[in-house]
Symmetry: C2
Amino acid sequence: MSGRNSTAAYEALKDRFERLAALSGAQAVLHWDRATMMPEGGAGARAEQQAILSLIAHETLTAPEVAGLIDEAREADGLDPWDRANLHEMARLHAHATATPASLVTRLSRQKSAAEMVWRKARAANDYASLAPELDKLIALVREQAAAKAEALGLDPYDALLDGYDPGRRSADIDVLFAELESFLPGLLREVMEHQARGPAALPIEGPFPVALQEKIGREVMDLIGFDFAHGRLDVSHHPFTGGVPDDSRITTRYDEADFTESLMAVIHETGHSLYERGLPPEWRSQPAGRARGMTIHESQSLLFEMQAARTESFIRFLAPRLKTGFGGEGPAWEPENVLRHYRRVAPGFIRVQADEVSYPLHVMLRYGLERAMIAGELTAKDLPAAWNEGMERMLGIVPPDDAAGCMQDIHWPSGSFGYFPTYTLGALAAAQLFAAAKQRHDGIEEALGQGDFAPLLGFVRTHVHGKGASRTPDEIVSEATGEPLGTAAFKAHIEARYLGK
Amino acid sequence: MSGRNSTAAYEALKDRFERLAALSGAQAVLHWDRATMMPEGGAGARAEQQAILSLIAHETLTAPEVAGLIDEAREADGLDPWDRANLHEMARLHAHATATPASLVTRLSRQKSAAEMVWRKARAANDYASLAPELDKLIALVREQAAAKAEALGLDPYDALLDGYDPGRRSADIDVLFAELESFLPGLLREVMEHQARGPAALPIEGPFPVALQEKIGREVMDLIGFDFAHGRLDVSHHPFTGGVPDDSRITTRYDEADFTESLMAVIHETGHSLYERGLPPEWRSQPAGRARGMTIHESQSLLFEMQAARTESFIRFLAPRLKTGFGGEGPAWEPENVLRHYRRVAPGFIRVQADEVSYPLHVMLRYGLERAMIAGELTAKDLPAAWNEGMERMLGIVPPDDAAGCMQDIHWPSGSFGYFPTYTLGALAAAQLFAAAKQRHDGIEEALGQGDFAPLLGFVRTHVHGKGASRTPDEIVSEATGEPLGTAAFKAHIEARYLGK
């Protein structure tokens, strides 16, 4: 095979992935619009549009000539390390896609849309019975996909799904990390609760907090952190998310006029996701090597800003007086110490997205166990509520009052995302490790946060995380940025320092 | 060829056109989002997404097997008249698409996006010099397309473009109708102006009219006319338009806090477009026979509601007290007679979308002449402003103060739409003819409008226009609904009755 033909093969692949990037960008707009703008009656037509675009993308990625082009491109001379990484990603995406038959791709896309729309109503009406049959249909299709991928990739079915969210991750690794967490976290949670009980209680911060003001302050904080509104938007959806494409990044939040704290932190969280997308290498925008490196790294970026940086005492001291002025608040409840107490309150609760960072991993471990059972065929939708409630009691010692606050709270399963949940906690571990490394390598990161200046922290992750795109594995990114493989030590040290003063 | 194979061929075509409908629906969302929601920095990525989807649609429609499938499907037994019309439309769309090479489709899509984005800034800054080179590049590509289509369809280049907007329409027919208009309209315009000058002047309706109130009242009027908000939205864009798909119809307007009248009528206009889309036969949603029948019929539906129905004395008598209450207005300016004077004021002006219905056709005739010259290669962007101003002086006796109020006012040319403008006036002729026929066939249409009830009028067009989809030609729809071929008589009678009391 000549070098020239091999180079041409690689160029042909790049053209094909440019087309895939455009399709994926179009899908991102359709998805964002559905969650933020679309009238309910548009659901059927939208599901059809999304299914057809999924099918076209699948056909583009699995066309008969692609395997040959990949083989041929591997012989090409003159590919630099980024090209090599790009080709490696192309092959990985191709292997995932060819594992799933086209007809299953369409059925999955349609059922995801259908189940998600039912979920929106079912959750609002606390009507799990209407969701269960749709969820069972979806689980059956996801299991079919998991089995097909397992066969093609030589992995366990759950691992085959997990690999789609966090490349290279295996449940065996997660089991080790989660076992470590389980060995210390319940005890640590009790210790934190006791320590907290000995201190002063947080004074309530009295509302109401009008949506327009919350949005204004949210935008100001986004601006501080480095969000560029010429390349993005802030809107409202049921479940906050980051959508769009790197040059047009759309984040969402939701507002509660009785409590601004949750929405504001959701904004900071999604801004962390958005900055990651925006910081991906621009010269690789439409190629696989220029994409985000999976959901563990993505979550590490949102939590780095939300949990690590924005909840430091330095930043809260900067933020609190601005919140007080912005909302026209008065009295001791607005003092930094009290705001800090709100943002660091630890209390087991029903809702994952409202959970403190100490109990959050327990929510994830519950879901991880349940979704592994669903993919293994050992748990159906009918039995999910009971299994959920039993797990909540075992993990957190509390049982939700209804399924809306229980197994229906998250969009992930109704939208077909199985294998996604563990990345939240892996991301939390990575965030703690990255923040510790950033502070160790660069003096003055906390001092800058005290001035509302996120630039030094952003600079660290721009270089060590964002700019690497998908050229390294998730674990390589963490190891190279922090000098250590992904582990639980930094997270444990962070919890002990922040909540026990150790 | 066996009937069974022919039937299979038709079914295969239907599957293909279902895919095309989904692609077109996705494009509609991307287009709407670009005009209403997208941050400026997203333009590059969006242009790429739109270009790739255009290319994929073009490939889907022009794939080598399609011509054979069409030939084979023509032999199918058991196709009912709708299927026959559907197949006819498939063949027409295929002929248009195969006429344009794929590489040209992509270049056109990219240049349309580029020129439109430049136009948005250039118009705002009255900077025609920045638009001219982009427009010339675009005209060159459109001429390339016109020549290719002319060759393939056996038409004159301009007619080949026109046929894409108004199937079966030829410039020779337009020349006849426009010559008739030219024979009476300038004289009629003078007569109306003189008649108007003899009556009382309209009292100014004093603002300001807050955007939020205008939007609220606009939504109430949309609701009256029959807009279903479970299947659509109202938003803001530079140039009002109707986008989306029949089950998710997105209309836009723009607001001027000093004058609510224009925005409100724009809302009614776009609602007319939207109701047409929504009334297309649901069982043919994703097939060519279920699509709108070109822009002349589309415009006839918007003008039927905006110009014919909403400006009747009956409806204005219903509307005026509600406007007064809604805006908290006081005094004689809010009396129905005075509101009617505002909505029927005739005065030659610079801006087409603000023009009264008497002078409007003169704006269209100007553009028709200029775009024919551009497509014929007889007029370039450099010479457009001078030709525009000369034409304005000749047609309307006035010269715009700058290009923003002159040749840069419309989005059509910068977005690559040549052959579209004449359909505005053909639509106005059709609207007058349809409204006259509706009143003749159904008693009480005006009385119902006096109660704010559009249902009888809507019922007439649901049956005679909307429900026919693309199963008939535009001229067949008009003839069958009104008993007459499309002409200028009803329009002339309407102007004389409304403005001269004849």
